[in-house]
Symmetry: C2
DNA sequence: AACACCCACTGAACCGGATAAGTGAGGTCA
DNA sequence: TGACCTCACTTATCCGGTTCAGTGGGTGTT
């Protein structure tokens, strides 16, 4: 069960190791007939170049890293990351790049993981997720000189390249849509405070509310979990002048919110309109199906992977704006019964 | 930004490369004082051993692989894999093992990926998921001699080690519980036919139905998606003698089924009881919360990782039986209104 | 004092590729 | 015919660790 090396091929072909290397890598230096013979032998004996040897010879590791800071049990619920990873993967595996994944507990560990990966030459680049305002990981990665693509933005990415989507624009579109339906008391259940995209959305909401004169529109903080989403919703719907429309920062909270509304005897969408950020099959499964801010997450991941591979290849890359999410109206939004 | 090597440490410490290697790996051959001096220097200059060089010197790659065959868009919805990966990760990262992930399209590609990974010495072992009856991947991995832990079973794993959980037992427990509540028309909405655990559950259902004399109990095939779960449920609930209890092979289908029932004006649990296989926060979010077959998936993954690491270390490992899922009764099950 | 023995370390080979430098055969051209 | 060039290779070195076979000095034994 000994795995073949180029030396084995060289022996069989009656040439030197160097010739085999040239032949297999499409380099000049061997005749076409010899090249074909070598390639045939390599295929026949099932040769795969030892990635360690290749990496050691100054080349690349042919792998990129992704570290996620997320407690084990909540990671599962959010479809976002798995969809993102699928998209990233599709792009990477087409170029025989591997994806190395690690779940970390805190930002310090995360930085340590990057440092170790890079020191070990285990990876050629990384994706940075869940960007925060003034994120300490950004300067750390800049200092390491590790090729990085930040997933998120814009802004706060320092000299690192990023792939982002215009959350502010969709939020404005959504609020204008709800406004047009007649809603005047709109509340957004936000994601974790401190995350950059949470702050961007909050700022956009403040801005559009001011413009439309919606003085009862606001954001309440949450943490993306269904439990918290349910709790916040219960509180909001119990207040005297309860909102007529709720915008949730992710689909899990939106579904939890829908359940709470129904449990409290409110009819959706007649008594309450609901919008979910991030569309997933879940949003279509519940009843009524949720109006959602829909976006092609796998494509987003694929773009991020493309950018990272370009950065690794040494190309100067900048920020890449991915498609803006669009509002997919479904059964959970309608004009309010009591304006 | 040159990354330090043992040669740099050797030069600073005034010893040879060999001495540094012995010192850092806890090998005998250096005095305690020299060892401490070398370790101090290594820490100071931020040394990390080049994993490629290490792997090349006959040692291990310090990475394991996981290939998942799943379309990009459905992968996200199933919390199962992300929870599994979290558990695997926790165990791996404690030993500085990396997890390499790849999404594949079909079994042939999957086998090719294993072959390539192993040929490239990129990984030391793999996890095999979604085991099928007479799975072609089993003999392929046996032939490669690649350390493997099958996640699933029992049976059909050839000489490969496995980690499994007793699905048959839980299914029996569930059916007996529904029977005790008074249900006589129970239907299971099964996962993809051909998957080993689907078949195991189907066989167990047949067996327990015969024993209890439930001649109207049966399994209908599905594919784990919410869409299909909804379609099957709609059909089942439209029939003349509709079932009074439905058991779904995963949580996504169960939630879809709950929606369909409510859309059709049926009250859960009065008119229809629902049980979900695989518990996730989603089951607690909906209304009524779903009775579920609950299990610690991260722990399952951690056990699998432990087994794989043992196999890589050359220990003879066999099959490991993980905890059996338990029935967590919630609001979606009750005695039927019309027995 | 002679010898064996251990300790702490050095030097060199090795893993499997990539690659720069060297070599000999054959052809071109003045 | 000799100088020069190109082609198709070979040879040797390198990457950064691990590991095995020395080696010289100190200690213990008789």
């Amino acid at each position: 069960m000994k795995r073949p090396t180029i030396a084995d091929i060289a022996r069989q072909a009656g040439v030197s190791k160097g010739a085999v290397s040239y032949a297999l890598n499409g380099q000049p230096g061997v005749s076409e007939s010899t090249r074909q013979r070598i390639i045939a032998i390599a295929r026949e004996i099932g040769f795969n170049p030892n990635s360690a040897a290749r990496a050691l010879s100054g080349a690349t590791a042919n792998a990129v890293g992704l570290a996620l800071r997320r407690p084990a049990r909540t990671l599962g619920i959010e479809p976002f990351f798995m969809e993102l990873i699928s998209g990233v993967e599709a792009e990477l595996s087409a170029r025989s790049y591997a994806l190395t994944l690690q779940i970390v507990a805190d930002p310090e560990t995360e930085i340590a993981v990057y440092r170790r990966w890079w020191g070990e030459r285990r990876i050629d680049g990384v994706f940075l997720c869940d960007l925060r305002v003034d994120d300490q990981r950004v300067p750390a990665l800049e200092e390491l000189g590790l090729p990085t693509v930040v997933i998120g933005g814009p802004g706060h990415t320092g000299r690192l390249a990023s792939v982002w989507s215009d959350d502010a624009a969709v939020l404005v579109e959504t609020v204008e849509y709800l406004y047009a339906l007649g809603h005047r008391r709109i509340t957004r259940i936000g994601g974790l405070p401190g995350l950059l995209h949470t702050e961007i959305r909050t700022a956009a909401l403040t801005e559009v509310s001011r413009r439309l004169g919606l003085d009862q529109t606001r954001t309440v903080g949450s943490d993306y979990t269904g439990e918290e989403g349910a709790r916040v919703t219960r509180r909001l719907l119990s207040s005297a002048d309860r909102p007529t429309a709720l915008v949730y920062d992710n689909d899990v909270m939106a579904i939890a919110g829908l359940s709470v509304a129904q449990e409290m005897g409110l009819s959706v969408p007649a008594d309450l309109s609901i919008v979910a950020w991030d569309d997933s099959p879940l949003c279509r499964l519940v009843h009524p199906p949720l109006t959602a801010l829909s976006r092609d997450i796998p494509a987003y991941g694929a773009n991020a992977a493309r950018q990272l591979l370009a950065a690794i290849a040494g190309e100067a890359i900048g920020d890449f704006q991915d498609e803006t999410a669009h509002l997919a109206p479904r059964g959970s939004t309608a004009p309010p019964r009591t304006p």
